[in-house]
């Protein structure tokens, strides 16, 4: 018996010794070691991967690697610049009938082929129910391909009006693409709600095929921003075969739909789709080829971002996205080298980044030791506090309300907010337009004179005394209504996220306290909050906007009167109205970027600053970390098709992973020893008891 125990212990010891040098905590299969694979993660299950429906950044991480719209953004240049992707060139607007219509003619490069897919094999279009039941993946079937044609783009544009799909941009495009509304009605009437609806049978007036590789889109009036939409997956090609293939009875029950299995011409194809655990992209063997950009912005060469200029892309063979719902495991896996790049959660910001009083943020010594590098960029987005223009106290164009808004805008210390709650990750906004967008003005000319003075070469918030004076001028000296003597009570609506909000709420109240204004915070869930905004029952509320495309129109429309939320369900949540602003908007939106357009934008921004319908809040800064083995990573706020540019030094990653993850075995041995030792008193006690003679009766 003792011999057996000794042998078992020796075998266990041999196992532990044999494992030395191996990595035990590697979450990936052993066969993937040493392979040219990028490891990333996703927190939320994607809801849609159909390019006509997908509209979130998380989903774009998948769709934009697979689908190729005609255009894309140059990877390195800033401001963002549109370049051709599958198109031969960026199409020019042709104004016809005196400006009544605008035509965009898009020529596609010939010879581009789709990824291998079963939809391109005719036999797979009529599968039996049993054959479908047996499938574990669509890729179990024979695969085929075909050339990309202009018809595929036309098909996708028609899908925007598909009665069974929900395209978020249908409403917008129906206002521009000629005949789109009538087309949607025609499709609704023709749809039998089951099976495949062959859109090829229904021509759309505003979209024509010129030849096999050219199509033409006709818009009502002028809409220069249309070209930006041509860089989004909404305008990526979808082959009719794919829709037909996935519409076969039994496919949907197996979750085989176009909404889950994208089919494209991009650098990668989605080969494993388990949104609960893992999504895998693999290199598309039919990819038409693309070269790494030869030009970038100043500083890119120094950072090594042009080292691969002109080389064929993609560099990486496979991308594995693992579902990581919790931030702690995600961060630790990044530190262990199992994710190649990471965002920075507030909880770990101090561990990851050091922000000096003067100068740029840098990684902490701990990260530096691991060779981790930091990338920062100012997002093309804005977060703001809006005053409901329809509110009798804070809204409207009266002098009294305007000065009240001014006072609050001065008192509300956005810089402090960024410092406390965002770890300094953001810049205080001076107007609605984010940096990097045409129309944004830097320096002294760009500051909001209502709130800031230009002091020592930088904007400085006006002192609180100015705010108090403005409040008194508004009729609320010391925070009391001069007419009634009652304290001024204002209401802020916001979305409650959890107990962590308390600090934010307390700080927000403190900003209003500076003016002796009582602030009631009405925190609610997202749905109730949205409902209040829709109905206009808010007074002051927090909101934000993430730009769809790098054009000032995409920010300035947030204050366009005819797009007021209450009156027309638009995106102008503050319901702000100013006839001059609205007239200038109508003029500006259809102009190409030019000095004249800039002048109009400047005037619009001045009007908005004067009326102050928002407390111009924050343009957040994005911070991301990457390991030393990952090259060519540059933040891109306009597109997510960046994986094709990334490069990995696999040998370096393997070596560092081994170095960082050597198993520490002594605690294991110690635990076993403690358990064995702790059993000793029990064994002794047991033996003593078993040998004990019967107790004498007392």
């Amino acid at each position: 018996m003792r011999l057996r125990i000794t042998l078992i212990l020796l075998a266990f010891l041999a196992f532990l010794l044999s494992a030395c040098g191996e990595v035990w905590n590697d979450p990936y299969p052993a066969q993937e070691r040493g392979k040219n694979i990028l490891y990333s993660s996703f927190a939320e299950r994607p809801k849609h991967l159909d390019p006509v429906q997908s509209y979130t950044e998380d989903e774009a991480n998948f769709t934009q690697q697979v689908y190729e719209p005609p255009l894309q953004y140059q990877y390195l240049k800033r401001p963002y610049e549109l370049v051709a992707l599958t198109a031969v060139e960026v199409p020019k607007a042709q104004v016809v009938e005196g400006g009544k219509f605008t035509i965009y003619e898009v020529r596609i490069k010939p010879g581009i082929r789709y990824q291998p897919h079963p939809a391109f094999v005719p036999e797979n279009q009529s599968l039996s129910g049993q054959a479908i039941d047996r499938l574990r993946s669509p890729y179990d079937l024979a695969l085929g391909t075909r050339e990309l044609l202009a018809d595929d783009y036309i098909y996708q544009i028609k899908r925007l009006a598909h009665p069974r799909l929900h395209s978020p941009i249908f409403g917008l495009m129906a206002g521009y693409i000629v005949g789109m509304n009538e087309y949607a009605q025609e499709l609704r009437a023709a749809d039998r709600r089951e099976g495949w609806l062959d859109l090829r049978q229904f021509p759309l007036k505003g979209v024509e095929r010129v030849d096999a590789h050219t199509f033409r889109v006709t818009l009502n009036g002028s809409y220069p921003q249309f070209v930006y939409w041509l860089a989004m997956p909404f305008f990526a090609p979808v082959p009719w075969e794919a829709e037909k293939f996935f519409s076969q009875p039994g496919m949907e029950r197996k979750n085989f739909t176009l909404d889950w299995w994208p089919v494209g011409t991009g650098a990668y194809m989605l080969t494993e789709n388990n949104p609960n655990a893992r999504m895998v992209l693999e290199r598309n063997p039919n990819f038409h080829g693309e070269q790494y950009p030869r030009e970038g912005e100043a500083g890119d060469r120094k950072q090594g971002l042009l080292a691969d200029a002109g080389k064929p892309i993609p560099f990486i063979d496979k991308v594995v996205f693992s579902r990581e719902k919790e931030s702690i495991p995600y961060w630790n896996k990044f530190l262990q080298g199992y994710y190649d790049m990471s965002g920075i959660n507030s909880d770990v910001f101090d561990q990851a980044v050091r922000v000096p009083i003067e100068g740029d943020a840098a990684v902490s010594p701990e990260m530096q030791e691991k060779g981790i590098q930091l990338s920062t960029s100012v997002g093309t987005s804005t977060g703001y506090l809006a005053f409901n223009w329809d509110d009798p106290v804070v809204g409207g164009s009266s002098e009294r309300a305007r000065k009240l808004r001014y006072a609050i805008s001065v008192a509300f210390d956005v810089e402090e907010q960024i410092s406390i709650f965002s770890n300094g990750r953001g810049i205080a906004a001076q107007g609605p337009i984010a940096p990097g967008i045409f129309g944004y003005t830097e320096g002294r000319e760009g500051i909001n004179p209502v709130v800031y003075d230009w002091v020592d070469g930088k904007p400085q918030r006006k002192p609180i005394e100015v705010a108090r004076r403005l409040l008194a001028e508004a009729g609320y000296p010391d925070g009391r209504d001069a007419r009634t003597g009652r304290p001024l009570v204002l209401y802020l609506d916001t979305v409650a996220r959890g107990p962590g909000d308390k600090a934010v709420f307390d700080w927000t109240r403190a900003q209003f306290d500076k003016l002796s204004i009582q602030l009631e915070i009405r925190a609610t869930d997202w749905n109730r909050f949205q409902e209040k905004i829709r109905k206009g029952t808010t007074q002051i509320f927090r909101l934000g906007w993430n730009a769809d495309y790098p054009d000032p129109e995409n920010f300035l429309f947030l204050l366009h009167g005819p797009q007021a939320k209450v009156r027309s369900q638009g995106e102008n949540a503050a319901n702000y109205v100013n006839p001059e602003y609205d007239a200038l908007f109508e003029k500006m939106k259809n102009m190409e970027n030019s000095p004249e357009r800039k002048r109009i934008i400047d005037r619009m921004v001045d009007i908005a600053r004067h009326d102050a319908p928002w407390i111009w809040g924050v343009h957040p800064k994005d911070y991301s970390l990457r390991h030393a083995w990952l090259a060519n990573n540059k933040p891109n706020n306009m597109a997510r098709n960046n994986i094709k540019y990334l490069k990995i030094d696999v040998a370096k990653r393997e070596a560092l992973r081994r170095q960082w993850n050597r198993p520490v075995l002594w605690p294991l041995a110690l635990t076993i020893a403690i358990l064995l030792l702790s059993a000793v008193p029990a064994v002794i006690s047991y033996r003593r008891r078993e040998r004990m003679a019967a107790r004498p009766a007392s």
Partner: protein, 325 residues
């Protein structure tokens, strides 16, 4: 016995209708169909037409519980509640709001849930019973005292602490197992070691104390005294007599949870990245996916009723004196 089973199954029907009604009311008190549509369609560029279209496609355009505009016979049937509930009783769960087939998801996700829950149950049971027997064996000694203290200490710690602490120590400091993740087949083992150990450890406190109480109660009975008087070793008394007779209350606790193992663990699955049904339920609640929430609550109720039925049946197996009528 068959009549008993049939009767219990029939009793289950009104219970399930009630559970379904309560789930429905609770869900729609918090969320309206418009909220659900907005959640699914996103926050940007959503029009009221798109919301109406979404609701109509999924049958949420009808009144929730009573349709005053419907013909007399259809006032209750042409409602969201009726249309969504009837199919459940045929175990036709339909599609989630993101159009993925719920039955297919459940089939896929129940295996990871079972892979975690079954070892936790079996190993946990073995450890808890062993530990409880150990304390009972050394009752009224310092070993028993410190054992109880340990149990109380283990019970006092939050499950979240076990998970985060376990991940930090075993995975981050000692690099022994992956922090999170999952793989199919035998590859699952390396991902399950830590959550199973944590699941077992977290259950020792309550399990050990509960079983210790059972054993001590059993050890005070006359037949135990008789066995000792016969001169049987204490180990024989414990394992052959006490353990066997303590099986009924143990079964009560164990059999009832067996069907529920399918439902998975909400916390462990989220933190360890195990794609099971617990994680599915949490996702659905967060995404306001009523179709999934309703289905999971319904399945949970069915499994709980099944567990209670199995418990009753198991009594007859372990105690021949019990007859079900």
């Amino acid at each position: 016995m068959l009549a008993y089973i049939v009767r219990r199954v029939l009793y289950a029907i009104p219970i399930l209708v009630g559970v379904n009604l309560i789930t429905f009311v609770l869900f729609f008190v918090v969320n309206t169909p418009d909220d659900m549509a907005r959640m699914q369609l996103g926050a940007k560029r959503v029009t009221s037409e798109a919301i109406e279209k979404w609701k109509a496609e999924r049958g949420y355009d009808k009144p929730l519980l009573f349709n005053a505009a419907a013909p007399r016979g259809a006032k209750l049937t042409q409602t969201v509640f009726y249309e969504k509930s009837v199919r459940l009783f045929a175990f036709d769960f339909g599609a989630a709001e993101d159009n993925r087939d719920i039955a297919n998801e459940i089939r896929m996700r129940m295996w990871p849930s079972l892979a975690l829950a079954v070892p936790v149950l079996i190993v946990g049971l073995a450890v808890n019973i062993t530990f409880a027997l150990f304390m009972a064996f050394f009752r009224a000694t310092y070993l028993d005292f410190w054992g109880v203290v340990l149990c109380v200490a283990l019970m006092s710690i939050s499950a979240l602490f076990y998970i985060i602490g376990g991940q930090y120590v075993a995975s981050k400091l000692w690099h022994l197992v992956p922090i999170s993740g999952y793989a199919g087949g035998f590859d699952a083992a390396k991902f399950l070691v830590l959550p199973v150990l944590i699941g077992v450890l977290a259950g020792i406190g309550s399990g050990g104390r509960w079983y210790r109480t059972l054993f001590l109660e059993e050890m005070s009975r006359d037949y135990v005294r008789t066995a000792r008087a016969k001169g049987l070793a204490e180990s024989v008394v414990l394992f052959r007599h006490v353990l066997k007779n303590a099986m009924i209350p143990i079964l009560t606790g164990v059999v009832v949870v067996i069907p529920l193992l399918f439902m998975g663990s909400l916390l462990s699955e989220s933190f360890f990245g195990i794609p099971g049904l617990g994680s599915y339920t949490i996702d659905a609640i967060q995404a306001q996916d009523f179709a999934v929430v309703r289905s999971m609550v319904f399945i949970g109720s069915v499994l709980y009723i099944l567990g209670l039925l199995l418990t009753d049946l198991s009594y007859t197996l372990v105690d021949p004196r019990i007859r079900l009528q």
